[in-house]
């Protein structure tokens, strides 16, 4: 979606309104199944089965063992439906070839729209189900609530997210807004301006860069007011905005901030809560788009006529603000490309969150049990990181090594998982 918008800019073409709505409709379905996979398969088992439960039980099987088979069937069914929506709108659920410079390759048929409308009540109910589950299982359980509200998972940074013209969360198009740790807007830019606002620091030990706010300069891995680091993931989007653009999601947004006593929220476990609010927003926004008469407009593409040159596209990916920047020759052949993917934005915050969790839960001279190791991993998991996208590497494995060092820097113990 970001590359589609970037290529529109490369060809200097404004796409028809119906094309933008179809792209957004497709994208809302994507957001739903991406967030659902993360919450139900990866995040919820930590809370439902327990953070210190054996790994063999702390998974989606353990989750449905506790919550019930109906939930599992509903997750599978609604994910299947959202991908079906994507197929009906864009031909394929993954790697569609329908998103073209100047719009999309085909209009939505009335028959497919009616089918999608039939799915809407179930999708919105599925969005509400996640929030109810979170409330019942996490918020009503003191031990888990203590984890959410405790200082083991806390990081004070700036927050980034796309907002609409009323500063409400949006995923497909808008202005990038950044607020400081007090919630005050400190930066705002449109796609074409990103290079003046964001820069990428390089460390020799990592393929992955460390973005920061250019006007504040690279200050290292420092949190707190004045830091140039920012988060760009579900909680960051909600912190950076003034609200949600749909009613049920807005009510959930208000409830979350009331629970924390205001905004912005720096408790990292709130990313899970924010992710579920976004899932509900995506369902409601999907419903709005399906009800919009313009969605059936057959005018879905403007054939580009300008000579291609350079373009930038920005969207909110499930894991954070996604920027695509292409420079082409006069034939449209890409000569330069830069991508700042969702996870890349969060590289420094992830590193710092993991370190803080390790220091908090393992502590000086502490014993790193499997449960504590998982508590550290939970700091990583809240960002739903996609390192294969961020580093363009596909190892298919997640090795983890923790070295426990004493005050002299000597390694006391190493724990590894291949």
């Amino acid at each position: 979606m970001a590359s589609g918008k970037a290529v529109d800019a490369v060809y200097k073409v404004k796409i028809p309104a119906a094309a933008a709505k179809l792209r957004e409709l497709y994208y809302m379905a994507h957001f739903m199944h991406s967030h659902a996979a993360h919450f139900y398969a990866l995040a919820a088992p930590d809370f439902v089965v327990g953070p210190d439960a054996p790994p063999a039980e702390r998974n989606i099987l353990g989750l449905i063992g506790k919550v019930g088979l109906d939930l599992g069937r509903e997750v599978i069914r609604q994910r299947e439906i959202t991908q079906l929506v994507q197929q009906m709108v864009g031909g394929r659920a993954t790697h569609p070839v329908w998103n073209l410079p100047g719009g999309v390759s085909r209009a939505l048929s009335g028959e497919n729209l009616e089918t999608i409308k039939g799915f809407v009540p179930g999708l919105v109910a599925f969005g509400e189900l996640g929030l109810k589950l979170f409330e019942d299982i996490v918020l009503k359980n003191k031990a888990y609530l203590d984890i959410v509200l405790g200082d083991g998972y806390e990081l004070v940074t700036n927050y980034m997210g796309l907002v609409d013209d009323r500063n409400r969360v949006t995923f497909y198009d808008g202005a990038v807004r950044v607020v400081d740790p007090d919630g005050v807007e400190i930066d705002r830019y449109r796609e074409s301006e990103y290079l003046a606002h964001v820069a990428e620091h390089v460390e020799p030990y990592s393929y992955l860069k460390f973005p920061y706010l250019k006007k504040l300069g690279w200050q290292g891995f420092k949190e707190g007011k004045g830091t140039s680091l920012y988060q760009a993931a579900p909680l960051a989007r909600l912190n950076a905005a003034d609200g949600m653009a749909t009613p049920k999601a807005q009510a959930a947004y208000e409830k979350m901030y009331a629970t924390f006593g205001g905004k912005p929220v720096h408790k990292l476990m709130a990313h899970h809560w924010a992710r579920l609010i976004e899932l509900l927003y995506a369902a409601e926004r999907l419903a709005e788009l399906a009800a919009d008469p313009e969605i059936l407009d057959p005018n879905v593409r403007v054939i580009p006529s300008a000579t291609p040159s350079e373009g930038i596209g920005i969207i909110e990916a499930p894991r954070g603000t996604l920027t695509h920047h292409f420079v082409t020759d006069e034939r449209g052949i890409v000569t330069k490309a830069n991508l700042i993917v969702g996870t890349t934005n969060n590289n420094a915050p992830i590193s710092m969150a993991v370190k803080k969790a390790a220091q908090k839960f393992i502590g000086a001279g502490g014993e790193a049990t499997n449960g504590l190791l998982n508590m550290v991993e939970m700091a990583f998991r809240i960002f739903d990181p996609c390192f294969s996208c961020a580093t363009h590497s596909l190892p298919g494995q997640m090795p983890l090594t923790i070295e426990l060092k004493n005050a002299a820097g000597e390694t006391m113990r190493t724990i590894s998982r291949s």
Binding site: A37, N59, T94
Partner: protein, 168 residues
């Protein structure tokens, strides 16, 4: 026996498309004996894709250290935490998908085999496999077609236990 042949991959990343190409080549040869399906997804989607089949033959790419490009490994689900799409940091793996489907009461295949082809290049944009990987496609298709028909065929695949570097 209801059989699915599932090709996983991405046809714009050179050798990563081998699973898709294999399934496309098989489609005309196994009419009625198996359903042929291709996908660029895995994870939770596997539950729906595999549901209702007695047997599943999955073709995917693999990237193991020290192996020769074009080597075809024959894996069983328990081996499977090492291919690009069948193990993921933000989704479930094949073993979990099979167990989840069964726990939910779905009919999941009892017999699952994965043919994993060692890639030479799965990171460069391109719609053709490298020579080494393209070269094994006919033999791989013959082997899978023989497996489906029960007629047998020379095997070019080898068990994962025969990888060169067991410690890699």
């Amino acid at each position: 026996m209801k059989t699915l042949v599932l090709g996983l991959g991405n046809t714009i990343l050179r050798d990563d498309g081998i699973g898709i190409y294999a399934v496309r080549a098989l489609a005309g040869r196994v009419d009625g004996a198996a359903d042929c399906r291709e996908s660029e997804c895995a994870g939770l989607d596997l539950v729906e894709m595999l549901r209702g089949y007695d047997r599943a033959l999955i073709v995917d790419s693999i990237q193991l250290e020290g192996e020769d490009p074009g080597t075809v490994f024959r894996l069983k689900p328990d081996d499977l935490r090492i291919t690009a799409r069948l193990a993921s940091l933000h989704d479930i793996d094949l073993v979990t998908a099979l167990a989840l489907g069964r726990r939910l009461g779905f009919a999941m295949p009892a017999d699952v085999t994965v043919y994993a082809v060692q890639v030479a290049d799965a990171l460069t944009l391109g719609e053709e496999c490298t020579e080494a990987v393209a070269g094994v496609l006919p033999g791989l298709v013959d082997e899978i077609a023989g497996e489906i028909s029960g007629g047998g065929c020379a095997k070019i695949s080898r068990p994962l236990g025969e990888r060169k570097r067991r410690d890699a």
